[in-house]
Amino acid sequence: MSGAPDRPDLIGQRIPRHDARDKVTATIAYAADWAMPGMLHAVVVRSPYPSAQIRRLDAARASAMPGVVAILTAKDVPHNTLATDVPGQTTTVGPLRAHLHVLAEDRVRYQGEPVALVAAETLEQARAAAEAVEVDYEPLPGVFDTATALAPGAPRVHEAGNLLAEWRIARGDVAAALAGAAVVIDGEYETSFVDSGYIEPEAGVAWIDGDGVVTIRLATQVIEHYRDVAEVLGVPQNRVRVIGTYVGGGFGGKEDVTVEVYLGLLAWKTRRPVKMVWTRQESLLSRAKRHPYRLRYRTGASRSGEIVAQQVEIVGDSGAYAYLSALVLLYSTVTAAGPYRVPNVAVHARVAYTNNPPTSAMRGFGAMQVVFGYESQMDRVGAALGLDPVHVREVNALRRGDTLPVGQVIETHVALPVLARRAWDSLGEPTPPRAPHVRVGRGLACNLQPYGRIVWLHDWSSAWVGFEMDGSLVVRCGAPDVGGGQASSLCQIAAGVLGVPLARVSVHISDSALTPLSGTTTASRQLYMSGNATLKAARELREQVLGVAASMLGVAAIELDLVEGEVRARDGRTLALKDVLAGCARASVPRSRLAVYHAPAGEPIGFMKVGGPDMAPHTPQTLAHGPAEPGRGSGKVFPDYTFGAHAAEVEVDTETGVVRILKYVAAHDVGRAINPTSVEGQIQGGVVQGLGYGLLEEVLLDEGVNQTTSFASYLIPAAGDVPDVQPIVCESGEGLGPYGARGIGEPPIGPPAAAIANAIAAATGARLARLPMTGERVLRALGALDGKDG
């Protein structure tokens, strides 16, 4: 008894987001805008040393200072261990385990590691008391780069050793293929530590609510961290509630726990509301960064440009704790050969502990760093063989049915050749150099980025859609909105299916107690997962309501449509939605629907076990080996991938080394653009973060001591640093999301650094292999070309 198929009139429309008006009038209450009566202010006491023993910690003097209500150290924390792996809504965590101490016990392993918490009546009092907490540190030798960390006899960051995780892929016969290749290109590349750099620092307020539930309102990508707070407090998980605010930018930096555990502890101990807002300096000092990588590629190609072998070595810096490093490295391992069909592949990837700041999730999640490697190599293969950059990628592009080195079969359309051609051609007429010392060149870079979580995490999302009696619509979904339009898309999908004007839709998100859980806003998964859950709920609700209308009109449901707030029959009769909803009540048919969407699931590949603190020593893991036979699909890791191709035109000032981007085009197959404006915004924003990564951004560390703890020294792109980004939105309709959408949150950040490096090479002949490509590094590379010692 189902109605006529819903007409997704709203899909593909450039609809202003439901929250845009509130944001231009600044009426949204972000995390730091919240206050509670009688609220305390809290700060974290952090280690100034990157590696030290805590000999003595004395808070007596600080505790006696005016206004101080609580000072907590490790011994005050009921369960001082926090699991930091695989957050969110997963049924299976799998064998990956990573932990850290909520507050340091006798050892600190990075500068900025939390040692104590202070809560006081005012922020000034809390800060003064934090200064007065006496900690007697004995500095210890540390390790500050991966080569040292992995060398025999290196100081150990953790007891079990410095090698945190190691993945391998061995497909085909790389040595033989390299021996028979027409060209072999060797390249070493280095990427840097970078910060998420959202403009809103980490913040939240916690209180014990009237029902005794520990309630924490904060900026987070993962409301499911309420479970971690419960574990630390030693209370049942249903006694902690996380309310996620509209987030002022996340990019992975608000995926791990930030302030929630500290706030939960302090509210629990003081029984008073507590607020914590990190300063910019604190955020830049202590929040997890993107892993810097050392990449070594050896690429073999045939005379006609087919890549016959790819040998890749990856070493990443995890900093002092594991967080999500093993998984970040897994993404790198799976995508290391790029969006290409390569019959012989060997990947050896390791990630090591150091006494640098921890690294974890950041937009692109390991599939990002390797683009700089494989696309620089691709360009050099093309140049060595005299092949056009688009052509060499066309020749090698993956196609549906091809198998990735890990063994996963690509099941959806790959638009890569079209994307590369369109991006490249859209650069238009070449720009003439504006002065004799300026060179202009163009570069191309392609990528693949998974969307959705690893299949053995058995990911799911749920959403609730319901009518009010007046015909207005409510969507409830646990998804946090980090600014990508996550909540808005859900409104658009539900409104389209149920024929309700958007102005009549309200959406409630991101509350672990009151909205159905839907998992993390990470991994480019929210439109895919919660979009599907909302679509399912809305369609089921439509059937319910039209079923009732059908009996009211005495026709079959298939004769009915739900448009603009009324039910229309093919014979021209209409029923006001309000009357149908009253009919639902009389017929005892609910006016709402809860739906769960389960992503395609799978079993872990290889024997996955990763070492780390409090864990058994690490064991190397082989993800895939043997010949890469087409159709050999044992190695499914991700639900699907999004592909992209970016083209850049740059000018290089040969006197200063400064690189300026003249034109930038970014093409992605997004499956289906639910809201093209939002899709373009994701592409443009991701590209500019990628340009920052390529040209500007670098967390500078001196023996683990951070030299870039302000926005004056840690530079993110300003409007004048970057050009307009021209997005090309291609819609194959082949994604796994609603209406065939693919994830687009992360993919656009991958290619920019490589596209620029390739453009610099085209302009000057100099190959930049170290990020960021600052003026100084460009000059050095140009000097090396001239035979001068740079």
Binding site: R14, P16, R17, D19, A20, R21, D22, K23, V24, T25, A26, T27, I28, A29, Y30, A32, D33, S196, G197, Y198, I199, E200, P201, Y246, V247, G248, G249, F251, V277, T279, R280, V482, G483, G484, G485, T677, S678, E680, G681, Q684, G685, G686, V687, V688, Q689, S710, F711, A712, I716, P717, A718, A719, G720, V722, D724, V725
Partner: protein
């Protein structure tokens, strides 16, 4: 000490310590939460207000300095409950993602375009140099400002 100034057209008087910043007074004393703190060191522009019509980082402005002056926040842009056309343009062009930079960006843009009606995209980009946005990549912000500037110039007419 007592400091008196005009906030969005209304006279205000606050009792404050002389070392407090305008941002703290706006947020903590006056409950004007539309000015955001992104860095507290003059580098991000989230706290931008207009001081006698010119953009200023309220996180670096000590409150005694605003005595007798006009302070405008983004809440001062609406007229009779209607959005300012520049705000409308931001909504229509998708220039807002997380929205945390938006109040500051709007105020800087308003000041600049009113002063330089025919500004081109590159000039708009340079003018926004002190307002960081991590989400949008700026293209749609510049689209929104340019479209409003064109319309305003056309309406002003020859």
């Amino acid at each position: 000490m007592i400091v008196r100034f005009t906030l969005n057209g209304r006279p205000r008087e606050v009792e404050t310590e002389p070392h407090r910043t305008l941002l703290d007074v706006l947020r903590d004393t006056l409950g004007q939460l539309e000015a955001k703190e992104g860095c507290a060191e003059g580098a991000c522009g989230a706290c931008t207000v207009l001081l006698d019509g010119r953009p200023a980082s309220s996180c670096l402005t000590l409150v005694p300095l605003v005595e007798g002056r006009r302070v405008t926040t983004v809440r001062g842009l609406e007229r009779d409950g209607r959005l300012h056309p520049l705000q409308e343009s931001f909504v229509a062009h998708g220039a807002v993602q997380c929205g945390f930079c938006t109040p500051g960006v709007l105020l800087t843009a308003l000041w600049y375009v009113e002063k330089n009606p025919g500004a081109d995209r590159e000039q708009i980009r340079q003018a926004l140099g002190g307002n960081l946005c991590r989400c949008t990549g700026y293209t749609k912000i510049v689209d929104a400002i340019e479209a409003w500037s064109r319309r305003a110039t056309a309406e002003a007419g020859p």
